[in-house]
């Protein structure tokens, strides 16, 4: 029987299904961590990248039991409830006060959020 504690090397679901071999075992490289940090908009230090490379690989390795499961024909669950759109009558109701919201912003100007330059020189 598989346990969540990694004590059983078989790691099978509901029967003696042989998990796929190391094809699904992640090999997380430092370069991949650097790339993911760019995607995540996190300016990590070199030390953080080194530490995260090892730690994330360990977590992904633990998740390899899930990656190796045969789930052919199983539909994904994105949400525990069957969600439907919620509609309401199109009646104007008061929202949040603009000045109160802008007061919480790091910078505001002329009733708007003020941000650093968005367009690059090449445009």
């Amino acid at each position: 029987m598989a346990t969540p504690f990694g004590g059983d090397p078989a790691r099978s679901y509901d029967g003696p299904v042989e998990p796929a071999e190391s094809a699904t075992t992640p090999i997380l490289s430092r370069d991949e961590v650097v790339y993911v940090a760019v995607l995540a908009r996190l300016a990590l230090t070199d030390d953080e990248i080194d530490v995260f490379t090892g730690q994330l690989a360990a977590v992904l390795d633990h998740a390899a039991d899930v990656a190796a499961l045969d789930t052919a024909g199983v539909p994904p669950t994105a949400h525990p409830l069957p969600l439907v759109n919620v509609l309401r009558d199109d009646i104007v109701r008061p929202g949040l006060d603009r000045d109160e919201v802008l007061a919480a912003a790091p910078a505001a100007e002329s009733g708007r959020f003020r941000v650093p330059r968005i367009l690059g020189d090449e445009l």
Binding site: P4, Y13, R41, V59
Partner: protein, 477 residues
């Protein structure tokens, strides 16, 4: 005194709310410097609210079912004009422009907010060591963690700082600290309690719930905060589950399954308490058997893909534009916005939050999406199916809440995977959207509290509370 006793005294005029609040503030003054359960104590506001409750009682009005009851709020619940930090530097000093629905409902019921409690940053953690403002200490042994992420809420109830507390539970963040602090903690069915004003971690898993000294107190708190809210599109239609009236019904005739997959890896002293709890339910007339729920063995792995993927999306909002911290890496402010995003998030988030954003971003990135996120979602389906099969034979499932009693500071903070294993028994309920409750049940070999978890199918709150109350009555003193 329990919350129900306090409310009865205040409503009848036997005891002024002011006196109740003063006694809790005195408890806070005595031990809060040692325990650090709160990010913010709202002494003046609590005394003013108590005066209003007392004025209502004097005028012959009923302030509500929680009249004069001091409540502590996890610091990821929005309070208008009052700092709400999620124990993160990135929200340090932020004052929300609105109240969470649960806060509105608490006040309408006469409850008195005494403070905002410490937590793992953005609810990511199982020890409250990930707070940017320093850890909370366990009231039973200040050298141990209180659990997490709702560690401050659990500690505040255990220390008598508040009669009730609210937490949020994404993978066990109410139940696990409740177990480690020796209090009752309950995660409702997904959608029973409005998430409006709860700062999002993983939106398909997050649920607000009660922490209390007794099952009856947790029941009244759930009845007050639950029920449909048009401000939350995932809120279930209908009123809150009625659970206060079933507490004395006993477990005669109930079928209870002890989940085999959640018994491996549990410390022996905790496993012994679990066996005693099963025996006690049996003695009360329940039929108790071991049951296999195979897919829950994969809950932890699926959870840490799904929760981090959702978190990486939800936490994209902390970008230094609309609220909280902004760090501009250029001296004259002429840098571009991407550099500002990266610098702000690097300075504002702690290590665990960064780690989870990275993991979730990776799991959602091109080339890995289906292998990790898609696969985890399919495993989530398997877990729901296997739990459904178990509930076709059993009214309730039973397990320990956490694999061990409260551990020492630093014991798991350097090994993320070891920390994640703290949530192994609690995660399945979040993935399925089901309710579950942790009830204090004696102590471990170290004399620290053990929690036993009861699990029920969706909207099974009445049978869950019925059995929890029976378990509480049978618990070793």
């Amino acid at each position: 005194m329990t919350a129900l006793e306090i409310a009865a005294d205040v409503r009848s005029g036997r005891r002024p709310a002011r006196e109740v609040v003063e006694s809790h503030l005195a408890a806070i003054a005595a031990r809060e410097p040692e325990l650090h359960a709160f990010n913010l104590v709202l002494a003046d506001e609590a005394l003013a609210a108590a005066a209003e409750v007392d004025r209502q009682v004097a005028a012959g009005d009923d302030p509500g079912p929680l009249a004069g009851v001091p409540v502590a709020l996890k610091d990821n619940l929005c309070t208008r004009g009052v700092p709400t930090t999620c124990s993160s530097r990135i929200l340090d000093g932020w004052r929300p422009p609105y109240d969470a629905t649960v806060v509105v409902r608490l006040r309408a019921a006469g409850a008195i907010v005494v403070g905002k409690t410490n937590m793992d940053e953005f609810a990511m953690g199982s020890s409250t060591e990930n707070s940017a403002f320093g850890p909370t200490r366990n009231p039973h042994d200040p050298s141990r963690v209180p659990g997490g992420s709702s560690g401050g809420s659990a500690a505040s109830v255990a220390a008598g700082f508040a009669a009730l507390a609210l937490g949020s539970d994404t993978g066990g963040s109410i139940r696990q600290p409740a177990a480690l602090c020796g209090v009752v903690g309950m995660k409702p069915t997904y959608g029973v309690v409005s998430r409006y004003g709860l700062v999002a971690f993983a939106s398909s898993l997050d649920q607000i719930g009660p922490l209390a000294a007794t099952v009856a107190d947790a029941a009244i708190l759930l009845e007050v905060i639950g029920g449909h809210d048009p401000l939350d599109s995932t809120s279930i239609a209908g009123p809150a589950p009625r659970v206060g009236g079933v507490l004395d019904d006993g477990v005669e005739g109930l079928r209870v399954g002890v989940v085999r997959e959640l018994t491996g890896g549990i410390d022996p002293d905790v496993a012994a308490r679990l066996a005693e709890a099963a025996t006690a339910l049996e003695a009360g007339g329940a039929k108790v058997e071991e049951v296999s729920v195979p897919a829950v063995a994969y809950g932890l792995s699926a959870y840490y893909v799904i929760a981090t993927a959702e978190a990486s999306s939800n936490l994209a909002r902390y970008d230094g534009v609309r609220y909280g911290l902004r760090v501009d890496p250029t001296v004259d402010g002429t840098g571009d916005i991407t550099a500002m995003y990266g610098a702000t998030r690097a300075a504002g988030f702690g290590a665990e939050v960064k780690r989870r954003i990275m993991l979730g971003t990776y799991a959602l990135s091109a080339g890995y999406y289906d292998a990790y996120y898609g696969q985890a979602q399919r495993v989530r389906t398997l877990i729901i199916r296997d739990l459904g099969a178990a509930y076709s034979q059993y009214d309730l499932l039973l397990s320990a809440t956490a694999p061990s009693t409260a551990f020492a500071f630093g014991a798991k903070s350097e090994n993320p995977l070891a920390m994640y294993l703290s949530d192994v028994c609690t995660i399945p309920s979040n993935l399925a959207g089901h309710p579950a409750i942790s009830v204090p049940y004696g102590t471990g070999a170290d004399g620290l509290p053990v929690g036993i978890q009861l699990l029920a199918p969706a909207l099974g709150e009445p049978v869950l509370f019925r059995a929890a109350a029976a378990l509480e009555r049978s618990a070793p003193r």
